[in-house]
Symmetry: none
Subunit: 508 residues, 2 copies
Amino acid sequence: MAVPGTALRRLRDHLHQTRLLGSISSALYYDQNTVMPAAGAEWRGQQLALLAGELHERQSSAPYTELLVAAEAELDSEAPPELRRNLELLRLELGRQRCLDPALVSALAKAQSRGNAVWQDARARNDFGTFAPALAELISLRLEQASQLAAAEPVARSPWEILAQPFEPNVSKARLEELFAPLRAGLPALLQRVAPSSTPEGSGGDLAEALQERLCAELLDSWGYDPQRCQRSRSAHPFSCTVGPQDFRITTRVVPGQPLSAFLATAHEWGHSLYEQGLPRTDDHYFPWPLGEATSMGVHESQSLFWECRVARSRAFAERWHHRFCQGLGSDPWNGAFGFWRALNPLKPGLIRVEADELSYGLHIVLRFELELALLEQAMPVEELPHHWNRRMGELLGVRPASDAEGCLQDIHWAEGLFGYFPSYALGHLISAQLAEALERDLGGAGAIEDCVAQGEEERLQQWLARHVWPLGRQVDGEELVAQVCGSALSAAPFLAYLERKLGQLQG
Amino acid sequence: MAVPGTALRRLRDHLHQTRLLGSISSALYYDQNTVMPAAGAEWRGQQLALLAGELHERQSSAPYTELLVAAEAELDSEAPPELRRNLELLRLELGRQRCLDPALVSALAKAQSRGNAVWQDARARNDFGTFAPALAELISLRLEQASQLAAAEPVARSPWEILAQPFEPNVSKARLEELFAPLRAGLPALLQRVAPSSTPEGSGGDLAEALQERLCAELLDSWGYDPQRCQRSRSAHPFSCTVGPQDFRITTRVVPGQPLSAFLATAHEWGHSLYEQGLPRTDDHYFPWPLGEATSMGVHESQSLFWECRVARSRAFAERWHHRFCQGLGSDPWNGAFGFWRALNPLKPGLIRVEADELSYGLHIVLRFELELALLEQAMPVEELPHHWNRRMGELLGVRPASDAEGCLQDIHWAEGLFGYFPSYALGHLISAQLAEALERDLGGAGAIEDCVAQGEEERLQQWLARHVWPLGRQVDGEELVAQVCGSALSAAPFLAYLERKLGQLQG
């Protein structure tokens, strides 16, 4: 420990314990979504609420406040900037935590857990009606939370913006409108260029579960998966989860009729996990300090999307992996590597966000962003959600859900009270595209990613990210990260240019 | 909540939270032993230590003491006896917790963790010498603990007896000598009747892992396994684990070369789980009060052994399941149902406790009980342990270990400082046999268990246990339970009579 001073040392120990508690919640979440029997949900909710209460207490108590004040007093003119930044981030977080009524924190934890359970059931039975009251309760509790948090915000923010801060620090509705406008304007035009005839052939078949499992394992092996530190399981919804500084989990699922789904989800979740694994943990100013944490969901998503879209959906990748798929299958339903590449990139507006192609994905997010604002800030009754969902789906993507299960019940986020989260997914696409441009400049110019993939040298991509992106932690927010690494402000242009190029090649 | 009074109500809430915390540890333990990657161990240790510290604090703090005092003051002459018993049990436990010097608690935790690590290594290298000092330190710390705890004991108890209380409430050395003497006298004679020629034939083969999995699943299905409340996983060592009032887990393992091991372990662990599932949780005086807990390890083990030995190793069961095994295998390596029954009951004195048959198991325990007493109360130097282990092994079981790894280093218990635990395993055999006699009296006389099994009516056995045994919780200790349910004091006679009968049939 190079951090000097008694209060600073005690503060570090306090943060270490806080990390322990938080990671216990992560372990319970992982268990809940992989093996926990359904009837365990109610008790699990109580366990998580207890931990949430303790975490809140640790992050807002008077003794902790005094500890932080004492640590701030130990800062002198020679204190390193990292330490300053850590204390600033802790001060901001403390201000937010102290605004919150503990009763609300506990009520929210319970409502989130109940929301998840009710949603599972409502989605299975395609019954929005049973979910609506749980959603309304979550919205009301989250609005109450935003109102309590407002006093701690360093600048004036709307309720939605306040709730979005934990996912995307410093995000604003105005900036998102600015970034999303080119998507709203440009994506439908790109989508229209996708004639029905251009949807890929030969992807209607299926792959045996065991073969999918084997290919996922091969992919992870070739991308540095270490079974001593990682674990892969099945869950209803793929996710990545860090349970300890040396304990990384990812989950996937096999989707009948979608032979490449588990494979691409594995690439995606592994991208999240690589970022977590690459966060700095040894430097004195990082773990367990704020600087050692992921900076935003947008940056997180940029890392998963990089490995899913820029690598696993690339043409070079399709050419390298095509024969492995055919070998396992004993036939080639794709009629060659180009067909396999097209199967990895089905361009077809669909109903389901997590199955969406790169052209439509952004519009799924625009839809959710609009509806979240309507629910939270424009007093739209939850009962109207299915109607407006289906209407805007038609307008933006030209498709209409036949049921709420494949409509507004498809995502878990709102069922867990996560509002303000969805835009990060779209930001992830933009950040990934802009980082990819910077990476290619460094590694030999346009096409450098495809070249690395063609040579089986994905570790060079990992090395670049490990040098430029992962170690930053919370030194910078998402926009600052892009400016620092790429030398230009975040914009939708690199993403749209990339899509234009890829579409041309896929249709060529 | 029918429990009257304010302090009583607050006490109940306190116990509920304590249960939540304890069950979080259970969930982490389950995760650790089923999916956690190896590198996660160090952090997991820190998580569990944090929870253990919180649990100890909740069970020994001054505010908790005041709460218990206030609750006791609310008892009036009309208080129900269950409430009285709950407060007595809490008072006894609090007295024990408060006797302990925190420095000793911490020293013990470290010594246990070190003991485990040194033991793993010593066993792997078959080097008792490196383990001996760690064992000596554990003995010395546990004796110090017993001496601190002595003041809290309601009656005078020897150090070994004090350490055995958490596993077997009210156990005494004299009573165990009384119960074990017939085993020491009777089992060797039974073992001598097992001629080498009588070891079963045809069990040397193996069953494919997938077939073992399927048969285990079929077994659980037929015994009421409810996937809504239960989960089955794999682990290095089989165990049963309750994660919440509606969340029950069991694990098994497939052992190469032992085709029936996973199947019998499934029966065993399911027996533990049935007891946990049957503990009373709805009555006001039970969950989360002490009365709602399992009463002793001996009673717990009696339930697992009932389903493993009395049911799954019974002749009627072999006759019902033989064709399923043959069907899955496509052949009959057992030459008929009788051969299959003998394969389920291999009678052969061996060196390893966890692989022992019903005839030798008790002698493995007698050996350990004698040596624990010698180490803790008769000043036997730890260096002499291997010598006495091997000598008594020869005298009791007629076999001598070729190495300490398969001798006195085989069990984990002493390496973690667990003295006083082993006798519960033997008590489980005795209790199971005596309960089985009572059950048969109620269900139609001798042979009633075999009759139920032959008809596929194991649920009648479950119903009897669910009425007479499981709901008692901690109303009674192990001996009281037997006296109440069977109408006679616990003795070794039913167990020895059962073995005599079974041996005759197996050799017939």
